[in-house]
């Protein structure tokens, strides 16, 4: 149900594409994210691209970490 892997799209033709991660290549279907481009990072589940991975927002999680750091420290001292 939930096992989905970050991979990179290296070739597209029609609704089919080749995704690669750690040197392993897999043919996938891109119907669920049809505007995907080669070079983009995507989430693959059961042979389908189910979403793009947005590296920009990934940095946002760094802020969460910083927030946790600050908050937790405050929390600990409180």
């Amino acid at each position: 149900m939930c096992l989905a892997i970050p991979m990179k799209i290296i070739k597209i033709n029609g609704i089919r594409a080749i995704a690669e991660n750690r040197g392993v290549e897999q043919e996938v279907n891109i119907s669920l994210v049809p505007d995907i481009q080669t070079g983009e990072k995507v989430l693959i589940h059961a042979g389908f691209v189910i979403e793009r991975i947005d590296e920009e927002t990934a940095r946002e999680i760094e802020e969460i970490w910083d927030e946790i750091n600050a908050d937790v420290l405050r929390g600990q001292q409180a």
Partner: protein
Amino acid sequence: MTRKILSGHGSGGKLMNDMIETLIKGTLGPDSIQLDDSALLTIGAETIAFTTDTFTITPLFFPGGDIGSLAVNGTVNDLAVMGAEPMYLSCGVIIEEGLDMEVFEKILKSMKAAADRAGVKIVTGDTKVVQKGNADKIFINTSGVGRITGRVQRAPVREGDKILISGCIGDHGIAVMAERNSLTFTKGLQSDCMALNSMIAHVTEAYPGSIRFMRDPTRGGVASVLNEIVKGQPFSAKLYENDCPLREEVKGVCEILGIDPLYAANEGKVVMIVSAEDAEGIRDRMRETPEGKDAAIIGEITGEYPGKAYMETPVGGERILPLLLDEQLPRIC
């Protein structure tokens, strides 16, 4: 439902071990059956190691090997890990009628090349042909005998000993699974199928007294071997995930199919339990050989969870490595 033999009974997991322990060993002779990679037999003044193994792999040919080289190397390794010098092999084949003669020839050539490389001779054998559908192309059984050279004096495993692997984990099992699930590679992933007798000899020459235990982690993988070592013992086997050598491609396939490389078959690796003071020396000695160039110390024997194998994860947590019931299958959850 009468009890049936299931695919899991041949998987290297708990289902198989329980059947061997109770039904097979119980029936054929609890005092005569030796449950080890090879049986050690004394004939006159000589002690010899004797083993047998059957190979039913599909596909017959896979990147890095085939059923023929697998059969020879697997049997050579089962002798070598007992500290024996492999010498003679048998080769019994069961062929499904209709197999191309050319395929059979190719397999035999591969067996001959593997035997020459390992320095052993195939001296006897048997050939049977069964009706179409009663076998999957070809099955090969190889038995082997080797001389115990007395170089390796086994000592009991104890706390503080180190766990060592002779190279990257899971290559064979994961290469075959990738092939079966039509995953391809940018560079490639090969089975590690190879004979280990010369590497093991190179190590035991220098460190005869510091090797407590050796086994080639085939079906069931490294985790199953560790479970066999600690079963019913007062000590436990602890791995450090960060120290386990894994090829990127193996990690990639495991992530896609949802399987764990520690339970995948290896056909050209040996797990050793060695004394702490000689662990680095043995690892470096292994690295001097092509078969052992990626050797690594991956863990130690502790007393924390008696009878269990477990692992420290990159985040500093821990997880138990249970003996699986049967083989791993691609999963989505």
